[in-house]
Amino acid sequence: MTAPEWDFDVDEWKQGRLHPVPTDLTQPYWQGLRDDKLLVQRCRSCKQYIFRPEFACTKCFAPDPEWVESSGAGILYAFSIVHRPPRPGMRTPFVVGVVELAEGWHMMTNIVGCDPDEVYSSMPVVLRTADVGDVVLPLFERAASV
């Protein structure tokens, strides 16, 4: 059972955090999260996954990457447990993670739902969305053991 203090607190998030400001380029990503999907760009030509979103492929420069759905599953590639709050009102400790999605691309996130001391490199993780009002955030939590 998850200890509530390690879980994601929407009210705490609202007071402490920098709020994302979507752009025309990133709007599909944020809309996807509203639909509980993690969307990512992929080059139509070389199939390279592109994150963060860009206007052209970052490998072959082909135009107009398409948005595809990620599995939302991966491993915790690296993490840092933050003990000093960068902004007033942020509750610590919290975990900044870089997740390697199954498709091979990386994104930054917060790991929630477990004690930060239980987090480890290569930990299997899975997407967990959180509606904070103006956006839906892509958090990740430890994947349940099979």
């Binding site: 955090r17 902004r87 917060n110």
Partner: protein, 386 residues
């Protein structure tokens, strides 16, 4: 044969965690004057500027360096605002001078009355972008920490090895009267490991200061009638992968930043890596020193933790690092700390460093940037222009 270009004047104002009784412009103009005086030159000799204009006033749209022309009361034939500090500005200035656009450049910058009081939350400039990085509470130290974490996972680099780098650098700052942390310490590896964990795996004493003050340097190809020995810029340049701090840091993608640059700059400088007597490495975290010894070819990838052990990186060692106390204990002025590392290299090669002098130093290496910064810059300086 490349025309010799040298750093001929340097100056730092007082450096402190907070300076609240002055303004950035008051300190930057003091540094500007001071560097010219150190060179035995005057404002009328200056025809190029790479300097911040922190306001009040100034242009929002055009480079801040432009505002200096009016302030100095003379026309400038070259300005640059790519990054108005350190090896980047040095490389830009040398190129412009060799191209005949100008002859004497001042590089200057600093800050005052800009930071929250100590004990408050981190400096605003460590928090970038809010869609994919800032929203997660990631700061610049956290991004550097993620690179260290991966290196530790891949190669077994230990907390003790990183702490040893931090203690070495801070003990240099302890004996540098210019350093913000002058007289603090001495520090042992255990002292560093006992300091609070800020963003794992980085402890407080392994992380850069934020501080206030200003600094300036003068670069020129006019080598007649100088007050002090000119220190030649033998090679300088940059490698750029992305804008700073906007991408999730992945060691396999950006951990080798600087490898190609190092080969290019050493070749341009006609020096081998064994020729460097003193290293002023960019140290936002102590781990970055380990990474740079690997990337520049002093040891294999993954062996940097072992390479820095023992006395090798101390003032009397074969590879002395960060002799002024580095970013950990000397200063961090948002960007002008990059210039301060060049200044320390110049003073080492002039033989002006007193108790922290590396004996017989003839060639120095200065770096800036790192994997999450998306760029890496180097400058190699020497007493001999050939």
């Amino acid at each position: 044969m490349k025309r010799p270009v040298a750093v001929v004047g340097v100056y730092e104002t007082r450096q402190a965690k907070r300076i609240t009784d002055s303004t950035a412009m008051a300190l930057i103009t003091e540094a500007f004057r001071g560097a010219l005086d150190d060179a035995g030159l005057s404002v009328s000799d200056v025809d190029g500027v790479a300097a911040e204009w922190p306001g009040p006033g100034g242009s929002d749209v055009l480079p801040g360096s432009m505002d200096w022309a009016h302030q100095l009361g003379r026309p400038l034939s070259w300005i640059s605002d790519t990054i108005t500090a350190g090896p980047v500005a040095l490389a830009d200035a040398v190129s412009a001078i060799r191209n005949g656009q100008c002859s004497t450049v001042v590089i200057a910058g600093g800050q005052a009355s800009a930071l929250p009081q100590p004990g408050a939350n981190v400096a605003a400039y460590t928090q970038f972008e809010n869609e994919f990085i800032g929203v997660w509470g990631a700061t610049t130290p956290t991004e550097f920490a993620l690179i260290a974490r991966r290196h530790m996972d891949l190669f077994g680099t230990t907390p003790e090895q990183i702490a040893h780098v931090a203690a070495t650098i801070r003990n240099n700052g302890r004996i540098n009267p210019s350093a913000v942390m002058y007289r603090r310490g001495p520090y042992s590896v255990q002292d560093v490991l006992d300091s609070p964990m800020v963003c794992s795996p980085m402890h407080l004493l392994e992380l850069s200061l934020v501080s206030e003050g200003a600094a300036a340097m003068v670069v020129t190809d006019r080598l007649d009638s100088l007050k002090k020995e000119p220190i030649f810029v033998l090679g300088a340049g940059s490698e750029i992968r992305s804008n700073s701090y906007l991408n999730p840091p992945v060691y396999e993608e950006v951990g080798d930043i600087g490898r190609d640059l190092g080969e290019r700059v050493f070749a341009n400088a006609c020096r081998g890596i064994e020729d460097i007597d003193v290293f002023e490495f960019y140290d936002p975290t102590a781990f970055e020193v380990i990474r740079q010894f690997e990337v520049l070819g002093y040891c294999k990838e993954g062996e940097g933790g072992h390479f820095v052990e023992g006395g090798r990186i101390g003032l009397n060692g074969s590879h002395p690092i960060n002799t002024d106390g580095g970013l950990l204990s000397h200063a961090h002025l948002r960007i002008t700390q990059m210039t301060q590392k060049v200044i320390e290299a110049v003073q080492q090669l002039r033989g002006e460093c007193g108790p922290r002098q590396v004996q017989g130093a003839a060639n120095a290496l200065v770096s800036a940037g790192g994997p999450p910064a998306g760029f890496y810059s180097l400058a190699i300086l020497g007493r001999d222009s050939s």
